[in-house]
Amino acid sequence: MPKDQQIFDKICELLKPYNVKNKPILRTSGIMSDLEVDSTAVFDLIMELEDHYDISVPMEVISDVKTVGELVLAIQELLQQ
């Protein structure tokens, strides 16, 4: 089971191509509001995470996710299931 920091690092790595203004990625960063990743790109990012961890992340699970930290938590919960 990957650790919290490993998931955060992986998300940061996958976010890079979408973070076009190269803003610092913090756990408190709003994925859409601060990093300016559009909704379609967020779903593309989720598919990358699904394939990396071999999990299914239904769209409704991430509809409440606003920040990078919340995404880390959501992935952790799915990995524990």
């Binding site: 559009d38 379609t40 790109a41 779903f43 593309d44 989720i46 699904e50 299914s56 239904p58 769209m59």
Partner: protein
């Protein structure tokens, strides 16, 4: 500043109910400084399937999704006029109340027959069709799988269904295969895979035959939206599923009247006779007014044309190939091989908006398409070809794009000046 009443009533001080749209407003302001608002423009007149007018300028319409050009077809217009004379201008009722006329039922029978399905239900719009059918089909234990480039009405359909939804990579049956295997389906539930035939933004075509194999191997139902391909593809116009030889295996087949069928409305047909039961559960079918008789009868006439005039499909494919080839030779970055939807990738939203305005000024109307409504966060100049376009029309469109390319330096300079407020 107006509109902060909510703050006085207990909202966040300094913010109005519209404040969440501030980032959008910034984008809109940039586009408005560049020129006409591409998402709120009006023609002073529409004279035919390929011609409009703004002021005293005639505009070639190349972004109307009027694929077969039947909105001005003599038989379709006459059918609509006769329907108004017979039944008035509207039904004032839903399909489950007083809103089902014999013409609605006749059209359902004829569409079902064309698609070789035992059941077909007609809806008030194409958007409503997918909302209604998807939410009616998928219950709490079912899982919907949608293509990554799904149209907004399919995404909204999953929201109305309220079920687990999984997204798979665009036009990739192998990726669907993987995700169907990965996602557990709850006890008593089923998988519903939703794809489109021709994707409306890039104009790329789905390998429906491969999706049929993958979906059915997993015991999933396959729902295909052929809004942009019905009437245009297939020997009889029954779409890409017909062209790929799998029409009979499609579980649910949806379409719209607002493209090839030259009207307003939508339909969903099924190879499962039990689909008829959904008339009693689909809220967007039950609780909205039915399509006006004139719309239904115009669609009926257009359906007759689709079945009896294969030359319309020959024309549109020839014009699409001509336009795609011409743009390709000029070096434009085209999103997909030739089809009636041709999308040109532009470097960014502002430049695309500037070029859209320039083309309109030069007498050609295309669509501006920007994120998040586009795949891969693309900014696009999107063209839809019509069977009513002539070879000369396409040459005229190509000449404007040639001029756009030749004058790109000046156009960009003008854009920078306008954005800067000069």
């Amino acid at each position: 500043m107006s509109g902060t009443g909510g703050a006085d009533a207990g909202g966040t001080p300094g913010l109005s109910i519209f404040s969440k749209y501030d980032p959008l407003k910034q984008r809109v302001d940039v586009v408005n400084r560049i020129g006409v608002d591409p998402f709120n423009m009006t023609f002073d007149d529409i004279m035919g399937p390929t011609r409009g007018r703004i002021g005293n300028r005639e505009i070639i319409l190349a972004g109307t999704n009027n694929y077969l050009g039947l909105t001005y077809d003599e038989a379709a217009r006459q059918a609509a006029k006769d329907a108004i004379d017979r039944h008035g201008t509207g039904t004032t009722g839903s399909r489950i109340a007083n809103g089902t006329y014999v013409e609605h039922e006749q059209l359902e029978r004829d569409l079902a027959e064309h698609l070789g399905k035992p059941s077909c239900i007609v809806f008030t719009t194409g958007y409503v069709t997918n909302l209604a059918a998807m939410a009616g089909l998928a219950g709490p234990n079912d899982v919907i799988f949608i293509d990554a480039d799904a149209h907004a009405c399919i995404i909204d359909g999953t929201r109305l269904a309220g079920t687990t939804t999984v997204r798979f990579r665009h036009n990739n049956p192998a990726d669907l295969d993987k995700r169907l295997a990965r996602q557990a389906i709850p006890e008593g539930g089923h998988a519903l895979v939703v794809i489109e035939g021709l994707y409306s933004m890039f104009g790329d075509i789905a390998p429906i035959d491969e999706f049929v194999e993958v979906a059915h191997r997993h015991g999933a139902y396959l729902y295909v939206d052929e809004a942009h391909s019905y009437g245009v593809f297939g020997a009889t116009g029954a779409g890409i599923a017909e062209e790929q030889g799998v029409l009979d295996q499609i579980d649910f087949y949806s379409g719209t009247f607002s493209k090839s069928l030259a009207s307003v409305g939508g339909f969903c047909a099924s190879r499962h006779p039990e689909f008829e039961l959904l008339r009693k559960v689909m809220r967007p079918y039950m609780f909205t007014a039915s399509a006006a008789p004139s719309n239904i009868c115009a669609a009926q006439a257009a359906l007759d044309a689709i079945k009896s005039r294969p030359e319309l499909r020959t024309n549109i494919m020839a014009r699409a190939a001509q336009l795609h080839d011409g743009l390709n030779r000029m070096g434009f970055d085209l999103a997909a091989p030739a089809s009636p939807v041709i999308a040109i990738r532009r470097p960014n939203e502002a430049q695309a908006a500037m070029e859209w305005n320039w083309l309109l000024k030069e007498g050609v109307y295309v669509n501006l398409a920007v994120p998040p409504g586009t795949p891969q966060s693309s900014s696009l100049l999107r063209i839809s070809v019509s069977a009513a376009h002539t070879e000369e029309d396409v040459n005229a469109i190509l000449s404007r794009f040639r001029a756009l390319k030749d004058q790109s330096g000046e156009i960009l300079n003008e854009m920078m000046r306008k954005i800067a407020g000069g």
